[in-house]
Amino acid sequence: MPTLKMILNGQEVFVDVEAGDLLADVLRDRLGLIGTKISCGEGECGACTVLVDGKAVDSCLYPALKVQGREVVTIEGLGEDNRLDPIQQAFVDKTAPQCGYCIPGMVISAKALLDENPHPTRQEIEEGISGNLCRCTGYYQIIEAIELAAERLAEKGGPK
């Protein structure tokens, strides 16, 4: 069984995986990171979105071995123990989560967007989360949350 080495949420992690194992399953079942959700299992909904070297990917389709030696960020990698990441805080402040099942994926997609484009237009925000389905909210408060996060991050001098 090959050993996968990755930098997961800033920590070096080693885990034995099989060739066909998918990143989402390894994160959830082997590493206990349940914040990454599986909804469609085929890359149509974005609930399983994580960052690989800063890019948002659907971890339910992503072969685990493809992250060999690379950096992976999941929802658990955002914020600190007693402080939310500014994007997470904006989601709370804008009442964005309803059921919350899509929310980790939404937050990660928002992070990928804001890391690359700190001052997105509304259209760019929509494009940034167009691969993330939500059945509860109509997306409006999620968009508002990302706008608010961008504003707050700009005040602080950009995302990190």
Partner: protein, 741 residues
């Protein structure tokens, strides 16, 4: 009176853990030594099972058990009518694709998955009945032979006034036939959970559910165990929208745990979730509406036929609702309604946001817009002449209770959209220039109303326990609200915590709402019928008042813990009554919520594609306990309404499923939503509601589809009477109108 907590958009009680990904949903639970289960689903929509051979599957190493009908102590269940087998045995019938033949339990998910493909089932296919209009004819193949000689589950008759007189008084009569499709709930969290035997020997299920205490009754019946030997725990629910009111996995998990006495985990994949769970009912609706040339409604004649699918589920209560709302929120002196729900071999149909109020809302609002056009009256003005007010006599002969806010919702939406009110006339705004020469603009109006709480004589009740922890000085340090109210995401627990904080006079942060665990919390009824703010809110206030009284005693005795309990009954404000068998007259509902929406669209005449530029949504919620949550409900309701209008259709052919995943069943993405969304919160208090509150969850979806479809008509002159108005359908209809098809 000003409120400190109620009316404030406090952060949702579970928001921080949700944005961190820490809130556990059913699939996030794992137990030591757990096994994995997979279901062997029916391959036919209607067939007799001749033989089930589990031996090749049993031979696979790692397979622990294969459960068939023989393993189910009492092999039947059903939320309203007990007509569903848990597992279908040899010699018995499957009646839709979601019927189950066996459950395979293995040491790993992979083993269970592999083993289920090795179970061999022989079927004798039977004639498939896929259209309720055919199914209701005498001589149609029977779906449930054991239930009499017809597939018709229920026929409701409403006879109000004198229908012939009503049409004789009409100057204009509009006749149309409307069809709405099966709709998938499409909650993001597929069915999942764990079943196990707890430390007290109880068969326990962790799963998403809308009414855990009702599940408990059904599981106890199935396993032939006393109620105190079964238990259900409801962690975070990943959406429900009615789809978790029936059991689709809870009883299976219970059965697995009961049979193998070890923890068993089961997770449906998306295709299983879409293929094998209930849907919104398709309705076939024949409408005839008459009005005077002054725009006063005189009569409606309505036939509703609903497709119940293979099992009853809540098709009858859904039909009850549909019939009672069939004429819309209008005063109609003469009416005749015949409503039927009929078994077929299609997907089981069940509760879904609106519970029977959504389908007729499409029909009655299309009728109003067609009438407005025929009479040459503005669609807002026509409605204003006919909308219900306090004390108006509804379709079922009952006076409307105080707090009818429908006119105010329409007024706010119309003014927001640019309508002008001059003397008694309403004048439509100029819509501006389309964004491209090949696009046409149009605007559409629709209203809707729906009940809050359980209806037609059902004793709707909710039980709450409030526990206070007092500090040294006797002040309330913490309050715990215990009730079996599921929070499927809309924020019921947040709203109830706000109500408790207000009633106790303490900070919101000091209130917790207990996890729904039937061994700890009392039965608060279903999380449906937009009822928890109203019903459970009323119970919470009264339990808190009792707790405050008890605290006074505690202050004397030095006791530091206080507990109070209250059971609130809807009949204490309005004893509802069932339909009269002959004329349908009754007082159907406890309370109501009202809504109006206006849609501005552009239709691309070359492709038939509709884009919704702006949607104004006004909801009368009585009192917004948390305004941002109300807006969230409006956004979500519009999302579903827009899918209903333009893209969503669960397609079956002869009972087989053609739309199995999100790439085939299209729920709106962010790019599909109205460019601009303007919610209005209207607060016409219901004097019987907590702080005047009504309900909001379902009403927000009712007017979206008719508003959009009427806007398409305004833009390009075609009426789409069967949903959804896909680009293809709109394009063909435009061709037809131009005489080119």
């Amino acid at each position: 009176m000003s409120n400190r907590v109620v009316g404030q958009s406090v952060p949702k009680i579970d928001a921080a853990t949700k944005v961190r990904g820490q809130r556990k949903f059913p699939q996030d639970f794992n137990m030591k030594g757990q096994l994995y289960a997979k279901v062997v689903w029916s391959e036919y929509p209607h067939a007799r099972v001749l033989k089930i051979d589990v031996s090749p599957a049993e031979a696979l190493p790692g397979v622990v058990a294969i459960l068939t009908s023989k393993d189910v102590p009492v092999n039947e269940y059903g939320i309203n009518i007990v007509d569903q087998p848990v597992l279908v045995g040899e010699g018995e019938k499957v009646r839709w694709l979601g019927d189950r033949i066996a459950i395979v339990i293995g040491e790993s998910e992979k083993i269970a998955q592999e083993a289920r493909q090795l179970v061999r089932v022989e079927y004798e296919p039977l004639p498939v009945v896929s259209d309720p209009r055919e199914a209701m004819k005498p001589g149609a193949p029977l779906i449930h032979e054991e239930r009499g000689d017809s597939n018709i589950l229920k026929h409701i008759k409403i006879r109000k006034g004198d229908i012939e007189k009503g049409f004789a008084e009409a100057d204009v009569v509009i006749e149309s036939y409307y069809v709405t499709p099966h709709v998938e709930h499409a909650y993001m969290q597929p069915e999942a959970g764990v079943g196990y035997i707890d430390e007290k020997g109880r068969v326990t299920v962790i799963a998403a559910a809308q009414w855990s205490h009702d599940d408990l009754h059904q599981i106890s019946h199935m396993l032939d165990l006393p109620l105190d030997q079964v238990r259900e725990i409801v962690p975070a629910i990943g959406g429900a929208f009615g789809g978790r009111e029936d059991m689709y996995i809870q009883h299976l998990l219970a059965l697995c745990a009961y049979c193998v006495r070890r923890p068993v985990k089961m997770v449906f994949d998306r295709e299983e979730s879409i293929r094998n769970t209930g849907k919104r009912h398709p309705y076939y609706m024949k409408y005839r509406t008459g009005a005077t040339k002054e725009g006063k409604l005189t009569a409606v004649e309505i036939e509703l036929i609903s497709d119940a699918g293979g099992y009853a589920s809540t098709s009858i209560p859904v039909l009850n609702n549909a019939a009672s709302f069939a004429a819309g929120p209008y005063v109609v002196p003469h009416a005749k309604v015949d409503a039927y729900t009929v078994y077929t071999n299609n997907a089981v149909t069940m509760a879904m946001r609106g519970f029977g109020s959504t389908q007729p809302a499409f029909a009655y609002e299309m009728q109003m817009n067609k009438l407005a056009e025929a009479l040459g009256v503005d669609p807002v003005e026509l409605r204003m002449k006919n909308l219900l007010e306090d004390g108006s006599i509804a379709l079922t002969g009952n006076p409307m209770p105080k707090g009818v806010g429908i006119k105010e919702t329409l007024r706010q939406a119309a003014l927001g959209a640019g309508w002008r009110e001059e003397a008694d006339h309403w004048i439509k705004p100029d819509l501006g220039t389309p964004s491209a020469p090949y696009r046409r603009r149009g605007i559409g109006v629709a209203c809707g109303y729906k009940n809050v709480g359980y209806s037609f004589g059902f004793d709707d009740k909710t039980r709450v326990i409030v526990e206070l922890a007092l500090d040294e000085s006797g002040e309330i340090a913490r309050a715990l609200v215990k009730l079996g109210a599921s929070d499927q995401g809309m924020g019921a627990h947040t709203a109830l915590a706000q109500i408790a904080a207000e009633a106790l006079g303490i900070d919101y942060e000091k209130v917790r709402v207990a996890l729904v665990d039937t061994s700890v919390v009392p039965d608060a009824g279903s999380c449906s019928a937009s009822r928890h703010v109203y019903m459970s809110g009323n119970a919470v206030i009264r339990a808190c008042q009792e707790a405050v009284r008890k605290r006074q005693e505690a202050l004397r005795t030095g006791e530091r813990r206080v507990s109070a309990e209250y059971e609130y009954h809807g009949r204490s404000v309005r004893p509802t009554t069932p339909y009269d068998d002959e004329n349908g007259m009754c007082d159907p509902h406890i309370s109501y919520g009202y809504t109006s929406q206006i849609a501005l669209v552009e239709v691309d005449v070359e492709t038939g594609q509709t884009e919704v530029l702006k949607l104004l949504a006004a909801q009368d919620v009585g009192k917004a306990i948390n305004p941002e949550m109300v807006k969230g409900q409006a956004g979500g309701g519009v999302h579903m309404g827009l899918g209903y209008a333009l893209t969503e259709k669960f397609i079956q052919k002869e009972g087989l499923v053609k739309t199995r995943r999100f790439s085939e069943y299209h729920i709106p993405t962010v790019a599909d939503m109205p460019r601009e969304f303007i919610p209005f919160i209207v607060e016409v208090p219901d004097p019987t509601g907590p702080f005047g509150a009504k309900g909001v969850g379902e009403m927000t979806t009712l007017p979206t589809a008719p508003a959009i479809i009427s806007a398409i008509h305004d833009a390009v002159g075609i009426w789409i009477d069967n949903l959804p108005a896909t680009a293809e359908k709109v394009w063909w209809k435009m061709k037809e109108k131009a005489g080119m098809a």
